[in-house]
Amino acid sequence: MGGTVAAGAALSGGARADEGDGPPVAESDRVLGPEAVRITIALNGENRTLDVEPRVTLLDLLRSSLDLTGAKKICDRGACGGCTVLLDGEPVNSCLVLAIDADGREVRTVEGLAADGALTPLQEEFVRHDALQCGFCTPGFVMSCHALLSRNPDPTEAEVRAACAGNICRCGAYSGVLAAAMAAAKRRR
């Protein structure tokens, strides 16, 4: 992604006509900002056009600008899975995705799983199996399990564990999560 001024100067073989005292500016059209940039995201099935600074994470965009607070800010560095959303169907830690990198892509959050206030079978099973306590990690687990069941409708328990291995629950509701995911898979069959 771009290069330093020094590298650019070496490649072009000499001093540049617009040298200045400011910070190095990469000669690249893939470098954006610092001012806000316009992006379009297919968010929960609806196209949204937004202006966002390049340094803003997808997580912060969702939570602060769009009031989609299901994804949580827990560690903000990809260690706990609490911010899990689907990016083009794949589960990602949204704290490690720049909002600008979601431009032109599909983002699905926990709020976009079920229509009209209903619950998906997976969400129903979470409630039935008490797969939650304080609930702060719950959207992240729901997204990880949802992603798993979308690509593997008949997982083993080991596969459910692996799919949720990046989600931390401090309250310790893991057993319920595993039971809920297995029960949801069974319902699909």
């Binding site: 600074e53 340094r55 803003v56 912060d60 939570r63 602060s64 009031d67 989609l68 607070t69 299901g70 994804a71 949580k72 800010k73 827990i74 560690c75 903000d76 560095r77 990809g78 260690a79 706990c80 609490g82 959050t109 926990v110 709020e111 799983l113 079920a114 206030g117 619950l119 969400q123 979470f126 409630v127 039935r128 008490d130 939650l132 306590q133 304080c134 609930g135 702060f136 990690c137 719950t138 959207p139 729901v142 459910v160 564990r161 692996a162 949720c164 291995a165 990046g166 989600n167 931390i168 629950c169 401090r170 309250c171 310790g172 509701a173 893991y174 057993s175 319920g176 999560v177 595993l178």
Partner: protein, 732 residues
């Protein structure tokens, strides 16, 4: 006027009769004669749908019009005088609306909050924090128990760093030890643990008028926060509303308003805009509380017949800049005499705080290994040894259940026998806790359309209080629990305790029952008047109202409510408690099966059987979840967690969630949670608290299982591979 009733208390096989005086207008406490329709069944959490859809709003989720975003600046040094703070660049930075200095004279730990800013966006707040210039004059610091204990150590706060020294003695310790058939002496050590609630501390503050404040706060004590803020800001209690409908964990760290939360209120006041200020994860680790470490020297004796004689304990631990490092011992088992001396050592680190069963997991880690070591020394089965020294009838019954479930009889004999690479073993340990509750009030409202609400102003930090309230009210009114809406977490509503000491259930649930009882009586009176029947003929069961000798049969609940004269019936109650209950507090025991890879030192927990009482089981689903969660935190404390301070810089090396390790799905053993129902009778719901006891025995049970597997004692937590290998290679 009261009436005398006889209560059948205890549990099947161990029943006692007690007399209690019950006021007119109060229900008779549930006892062994009571038949329950919903109490003790599995009821889904009322707020479950909100939590799985992301609709549930925690403090961190609150977004208000015009809201400013706050960030905290932490001290760069573990000990320093502050010569000056220049906030001018921060104040001029784009979007910055307020800057608040939290500490202007000295700092005592790295990461201590020094200043806060509030800006239009989070990014602007982040930028502004970096523009604050603090002139530090670093001072010498100490971050280990050894360094801080030296006579010439720099004082962390004032005076000696070694403080809270306390000596206690009972009985003739030396004579008993001298005449003991076996004496074992050992030192046990446990680490500093941080709470790691997934939702950090924080607040959203909004002034509604010049002297009316509404805050959303991630707290374990809504009324505590209200009190703290009212005092700090000089406004009346009744003008402060604290909202905590959903709280993302606390585990003991979130009592009261922290200084930065008060600062957020001040910034909101000055700017006229709401302010959200949450601790970042690093600040949460370093500044928001921790469980003190422990170094426990223990010397104890026993007789050949299995009787414990005496124990000498000498304990200490680091507490950061505040708190005490007390370990709970001696508890649970009957020592005839003990001598105990304890102290706490201050270091330049964040203040310690109560963390789930303060003093107990670490104390039991030492005590229950010592008990195991004594059993070994007299060549008695460790379970049999415990039984001979335990008078608690509940725990004795729990031992039988747990031992059978784990397969105690099949464990490795002798410990460490065999030479396979991966060895399995089984160990056990015990718990003892209070949780008897304190005063609380509840309000039950029955609406003319049949809707029911039950209110309490305390919080549900994940324990399931909300659902338990609905179950208790539903039981009293003869309805299914989903018909009762439990409303909690707003200080407009009746008084409830901070969620500490496992006191919430035993405080709030009896008040709920008593309020529901009164609401029922009022409703019965209204129905009786309307239908012209004696009040005593009106009964509530199975979602209907049955009138004795009523030709038309039972009336649907909603139809019966329509007979009330006004729009609603409101009943309140203040919790009663009774003297003549079965037993104070709770017991508990756990049996752990582990695998030890003797080549790598990795310990894997395969199975934990946890038998736990909490008075009457109200919601079986949330009771089992609470036990499971306690066991997992116990495993985390035993194997994974460690707050590591860099000796040379005084900073925490792992203030994050990748190198401060918590167990995940790949570490999860099979957990068999067995609630043990006891009719306690100390309150009308016969409920005792549950939040803390399940975390107590787990580390000791795992350590005892490691011994059973390998024949070697691991007397230090966390039991990381290097620690286990050192034990395997060391002396027996």
């Amino acid at each position: 006027m009261g009436r005398d009733v006889e209560l059948r208390l205890g549990f099947p096989g161990h029943e006692v009769l007690r007399r209690a005086e019950i006021e007119d207008g109060d229900p008779v406490p549930w006892d062994l004669s009571s038949r329950h329709a919903v109490l003790g069944t599995r009821v889904p959490r009322q707020e479950g749908a909100d939590k799985v859809t992301g609709r549930a709003k925690f403090t961190f989720d609150v977004n208000l019009p015009g809201m400013l975003h706050g960030r905290l600046l932490g001290s760069a040094h573990p000990a320093a005088r502050i010569a000056g703070i220049d906030t001018s660049a921060a104040e001029r930075a784009p979007g910055v609306r307020a800057v608040e200095i939290l500490e202007d004279s000295e700092v005592h730990f790295a990461g201590q909050p020094v200043a806060a800013v509030a800006a239009d966006t989070e990014e602007q707040a982040e930028d502004a924090i970096r523009l604050i210039v603090v002139e530090y004059r670093p001072r010498p610091f100490v971050v280990t128990l050894e360094d801080a204990s030296k006579a010439d150590a720099p004082p962390v706060t004032r005076g000696s760093n070694v403080r809270d020294e306390r000596d206690q003695e009972r009985g003739d310790v030396d004579a008993l030890l001298a005449s003991s058939d076996a004496v074992v002496e050992a030192t046990y050590e446990t680490q500093v643990q941080t709470h790691v609630p997934l939702e950090p501390h924080g607040i959203v503050a909004r002034w509604d008028t010049a002297d009316h404040l509404t805050v959303w706060c991630s707290t374990q004590g809504t009324f505590l926060v209200r009190d703290n803020l009212a005092r700090a800001l000089g406004i009346r209690h009744e003008n402060v509303r604290v909202i905590a409908e959903h709280v993302g964990g606390g585990f003991g760290s979130k009592f009261g308003a922290k200084p930065f939360e008060v600062a957020a209120c001040r910034m909101a006041q000055r700017t006229g805009r709401p302010v959200k200020l949450m601790a970042d994860r690093k600040t949460e680790h370093v500044a928001m509380g921790n469980r003190p470490s422990s170094v426990q020297h223990m010397k104890a004796g026993a007789m050949k017949d299995g009787r414990l004689t005496a124990v000498i304990l000498r304990t200490s631990g680091v507490v950061g800049i505040a708190g005490n490092a007390r370990c709970a011992n001696p508890i649970i088992y009957d020592f005839q005499a003990f001598r105990k001396s304890e102290s706490s050592v201050q270091i330049h680190a964040g203040p310690s705080a109560a963390q789930r069963a303060p003093g107990h997991p670490q104390g039991v880690f030492a005590l229950d290994q010592m008990v195991d070591e004594l059993a070994c020394a007299i060549e008695m089965d460790p379970l049999e040894f415990r039984k001979r020294n335990d008078r608690d009838p509940v725990r004795l019954a729990e031992y039988e259940i747990g031992a059978k479930e784990i397969g105690w009889g099949g464990r490795r004999k002798p410990a460490g026998a065999g030479s396979e690479r991966v060895k399995t073993g089984i160990g056990m340990a015990s718990a003892q806790w209070g949780g008897m509750g304190r005063v609380a009030e509840a309000m039950v409202v029955v609406h003319k359309d049949g809707g029911i609400e039950v209110f309490n102003g305390a919080q549900d930090i994940g324990t399931g209080t909300r659902s338990a309230m609905a179950v208790v009210a539903a039981e009293e009114l003869g309805l299914p629990p989903e018909r009762v809406l439990a409303r909690i977490g707003i200080t407009d509503w009746p008084d409830g305790p901070p969620s500490g000491g496992s006191n919430t259930a035993a405080s709030v649930l009896p008040a709920v029952r008593e309020a529901a009882f009164r609401a029922r009586r009022e409703l019965a009176g209204e129905i009786a008047r309307e239908l012209g029947v004696p009040e005593g003929d009106v009964g509530f069961e199975g979602g209907k109202v049955a009138i004795q000798n009523w030709a038309k049969g039972p009336i649907e609940w909603a139809d019966a409510c329509r007979l009330m004269s006004g729009e609603r019936i409101t009943a309140t109650a203040r919790r009663r408690d009774y003297d003549a209950g079965f037993k104070q507090g709770v017991a508990g025991c756990q049996f752990a099966e582990v695998e030890v890879d003797t080549w790598t030192g990795v310990v894997r927990v395969r199975k934990v059987v946890a038998v736990q009482d909490c008075g009457h089981v109200v919601n079986r689903a949330t009771v089992e979840s609470q036990i499971q969660g306690g066991v997992i935190q116990g495993i985390a404390f035993a194997l994974f967690e460690d707050r590591i301070l860099d000796r040379s810089t005084g900073h925490q090396l792992n203030p994050n969630m990748e190198t401060y390790k918590l167990p995940g799905t790949l570490d999860l053993p099979e957990i068999v949670a067995i609630p043990f129902d006891v009719a306690n009778g100390y309150n009308s719901a016969s409920v005792v608290g549950l939040g803390e006891p399940p975390v107590i025995p787990t580390p000791a049970a795992i350590a005892n299982a490691v011994f059973n597997a390998t024949g070697k004692r691991v007397r230090r937590l966390p039991m990381t591979p290097d620690t286990v290998l050192a034990a395997l290679e060391g002396e027996r």
